[in-house]
């Protein structure tokens, strides 16, 4: 089992290198730094000097991979690739266009992101699984049909609608909580409660339906029949037998997103003015701040890979076949 985990972790290294190369190619090879400068400075009135200055300010005036002008190891290190891309492996993200340290900004904004994303995730999981269990318990009855119909309806509604509609009803009509904003400490509750509720509501349709499918698949298996033949009640069968086995496919989809909770949600944060990583990313996209976007892409994939490893570890907890072999 230990060897299995070590192998999974080692497998992450080439993946991250691949992500790094891919983002580098996307940001520096598809378009040259000159193109970016021209675009940022306005295409019409731009002098070569201005472009050079723009590049120099940001350290984009170096060669891409090999600096033949430099000597020794500098040939490799004094390049855009080394300084902008490879450096991200030690979480050195450099500076954004407005001159702030991206690393520090990320550290600062993780808190608010997590304050929304973590409760959304946890409450959501409980709600979705309960709803799915309920539908499973009443499978093939009118209640189940209605539940599925509701799920399909809910998942056909745009995510934007939940946010806009929620803001309109709860904040504007009922004046229960502020429309947007954020404060630290105890005050934060009134700011986070609506985004959390909306986040949970937005996922009910697809998630509950997905879990219901998993439960139904399990409930058709032979061991469930054995459990019923023992004389267990349907509820006991569902909770002790089906749920335990269904955890395996559920975990596959769930654990992997846990680290990504740090990244927050793009939509929710920008609509509610939460100063988290999601709104940071959106602002960067709108301002075309490439360094920030690049940093977020890399951070996102690191977190995803951590999620994959966590998934593997969680398997060992729920599946004896993985644990003991």
């Amino acid at each position: 089992m230990i060897a299995y985990l070590i192998r999974r972790i080692l497998y992450a290294v080439p993946i991250l290198i691949g992500v790094n190369l891919l983002t580098f190619a996307l940001f520096f090879v598809v378009n040259t730094p000159d193109d970016m400068a021209r675009m940022q400075l306005g295409i019409k009135r731009v002098t070569p000097e201005a472009i050079e200055k723009w590049k120099q300010q940001r350290g984009y005036d170096k060669p891409l991979f090999v600096n033949s002008a430099a000597g020794g190891t500098d040939q490799l290190t004094d390049t855009i690739f080394w300084q902008k891309s490879a450096s991200m492996f030690v979480f050195d993200f450099g500076y954004s266009d407005d001159g702030r340290s991206i690393g520090r900004e990320i550290a600062k904004r993780m808190g608010p992101s997590l304050a929304i994303a973590l409760p959304t995730f946890l409450i959501g999981l409980v709600v979705y699984v309960s709803f799915a269990l309920l539908m499973t318990l009443f499978r093939a009855t009118a209640l189940d049909m209605a539940g599925v119909a509701l799920c399909v309806l809910l998942m056909s509604v745009s995510g934007l609608f939940y946010i806009i509609g929620g803001q309109f009803v709860v904040s504007k009509l009922w004046h229960l909580v502020p429309i947007s904003g954020y404060a630290g400490g105890a005050d934060s509750f009134k700011f986070v409660v609506l985004p959390i509720l909306i986040g949970v509501a937005g996922g009910i349709g697809s998630s509950s339906r997905w879990y219901r499918t998993i439960f139904l698949e399990e409930i058709g298996k032979d061991y469930v029949r054995t459990a019923r033949a023992k004389g267990l009640s349907e509820l006991r069968v569902l909770f002790t037998h089906v749920l335990k086995n269904a955890m395996i496919p559920i975990l596959t989809g769930v654990v992997v997103v846990i680290p990504l909770l740090f990244m927050g949600s793009l939509l929710t944060e920008s609509f509610f003015g939460i100063p988290g990583l999601g709104s940071y990313t959106i602002d960067a996209i709108n301002a075309q701040d490439f360094s920030v976007v690049r940093a977020m892409v890399f951070l996102g994939s690191v977190l995803y890979i951590v999620g994959l490893i966590l998934t593997d570890i969680s398997y060992t907890a729920v599946d004896p076949r993985v644990r003991l072999q």
Partner: protein, 455 residues
């Protein structure tokens, strides 16, 4: 009036897709076992009603895909000059909707603008009041007549629609027969739809049924135009996803070894980047490229269109991984099937095994994945456009509509109709697609149809 046909990139891709779809349909019709699951779909009333709604959307989208530039009035014998404005057949069909633009916002069925303005009356007095709309309800003397007029027009239009529906019914029902079960549901839905459309058409000629937006464009027109964008995002993307996922997935599963390792590595790398971020990064880069090469396009429409096609390309390149993984898994299972081994025992070549044995047996997965993805893509377009990495801001789409309307959320009284229209149209489209996708999945999933195939 003479005109010049215009084929935008997205038009060509749509026609390509249409050709593929028609060819597939003909092929399927000739093969009983391929037709079988479709017959199961046809028995499903909900699915057929959804299909009806979807085909209406598709019709609008296709009409909106036939583009042309009309010739400008000749200014004395010279060469023909075409208008820089690219129009579609749909634009000409709904002519008044497009041309009847007001000054700014107006509510649905309003006779007046949304905001008060200073006006001079006949006596030269300046007063502040809601100005009358130029087109919306212009035939009425004042508001008090509106309710009766709306009701009258709706009734006439609806009645005509019903009549058309019944007539088409009468004409087609003898030849196009539903196998069973769905008859009633589809018939009722058809009549309801024709009645509804009739009423809307009749009203839309004199009112702004869904109001107008900031620059006075009819919201109904905008919503209908958005359909094409949504359809393109939802379908053209598959042109990229499908071959990538199919060939890589099947190759990885069948050949295993280093081919499998390489393909798995590729899709793990791609899928490890959160998709919104990857799309955002790619779209930003695409924007830089398009912005630095303004000389590539002769019209603004062509440019916006290129951006749309590029967006589909990016969405396709970032979203093939899931399907690929699925196909790889299925191929791994299939390659152990005894009929594959029987073929290998004859020395049948790998290529032939892939095309004759494996691909036909994973087609149901592809189909299910494609219909399921469609609605997700339509929804994604709105989100991406909101984030700023979607379609060109000048292109009419659900995303741009929502984005524009959202800014007016704070106004009192609220400008709700544009948002409502965009969300409503999207809901109907996505809901129909989801319901249809469910029926397709139920009909094609071999696990759900075991009893029928076993006997």
């Amino acid at each position: 009036m003479s005109f010049q046909l215009v084929f935008l990139w997205s038009d060509k891709l749509i026609f390509l897709l249409l050709a593929v779809a028609v060819a597939t349909a003909i092929y399927v019709r000739r093969h009983e076992h391929l037709l079988l699951p479709w017959k199961r779909v046809a028995k499903n009333g909900v699915a057929m009603v959804s299909l009806l709604v979807l085909s209406l959307f598709l019709l609008v989208g296709l009409l909106d895909t036939l583009h042309f530039r009309s010739a400008l009035p000749q200014t004395g014998g010279g060469e023909k000059v075409y208008s820089p404005e690219v129009l579609s057949v749909f634009d000409t069909l709904v002519g008044p909707l497009r041309t009847h633009t007001e000054k700014t916002y107006s509510e649905p069925f309003a006779l007046t603008l949304y905001a008060k303005e200073s006006m001079t009356d006949a006596h030269g007095n300046i007063l502040r009041d809601y100005p009358r709309l130029q087109y919306g309800g212009a035939h009425l003397a004042d508001v008090s007549q509106r309710t009766a007029d709306v009701a009258k027009r709706a009734l006439i239009g609806g009645g005509l629609g019903l009549l058309v529906g019944l007539l088409s019914f009468y004409l087609t029902h003898r030849t196009v027969r539903c196998t069973s079960g769905c008859d009633l549901a589809v018939s009722i839905a058809t009549l309801l739809l024709t009645t509804f459309i009739g009423a809307v058409v009749s009203l839309a000629t004199v009112y702004h049924v869904l109001g107008t937006d900031k620059v006075g464009q009819d919201v109904l027109y905008l919503s209908l135009k958005s359909i094409r964008t949504g359809l393109i995002i939802g379908t053209v993307t598959t042109l990229v996803t499908l071959p990538l996922a199919l060939f890589l997935g099947v190759a990885a599963g069948y050949f295993r070894g280093w081919v499998d390792d390489l393909i798995q590595y590729l899709y793990t790398v791609l899928s490890s980047i959160p998709s919104v971020l990857l799309i955002a990064a790619a779209v930003l880069m695409m924007q830089v490229t398009l912005d630095t090469h303004p000389d590539w396009f002769d019209t603004a429409a062509a440019r916006a269109d290129m951006r749309l096609v590029a967006l589909c390309l990016i969405l396709g390149l970032t979203s093939w991984t899931g399907l690929c993984r699925l196909l790889r898994g299925e191929t791994l299972k299939l390659r152990e099937m005894e009929y594959i081994q029987a073929a290998q025992a004859f020395g049948v070549s790998s290529l032939r095994i892939l095309t004759r044995h494996i691909m036909p047996n994973v087609m149901h997965i592809i189909l299910i994945a494609l219909v399921m993805d469609f609605s997700a893509l339509v929804l994604a377009e709105a989100v991406l456009s909101y984030v700023g990495v979607g379609v060109d801001p000048s292109m009419i789409s659900f995303g741009t509509m929502i984005n524009a309307a959202r800014l007016e959320m704070g106004r009192e009284p609220m400008v709700w109709w544009a948002l409502a229209a965009a969300f409503g149209f999207m809901l109907v489209l996505v809901l129909a697609a989801n319901l249809f996708a469910d029926a397709v999945r139920d009909a094609f999933d071999p696990r759900l149809n075991r009893t029928e195939t076993a006997t």
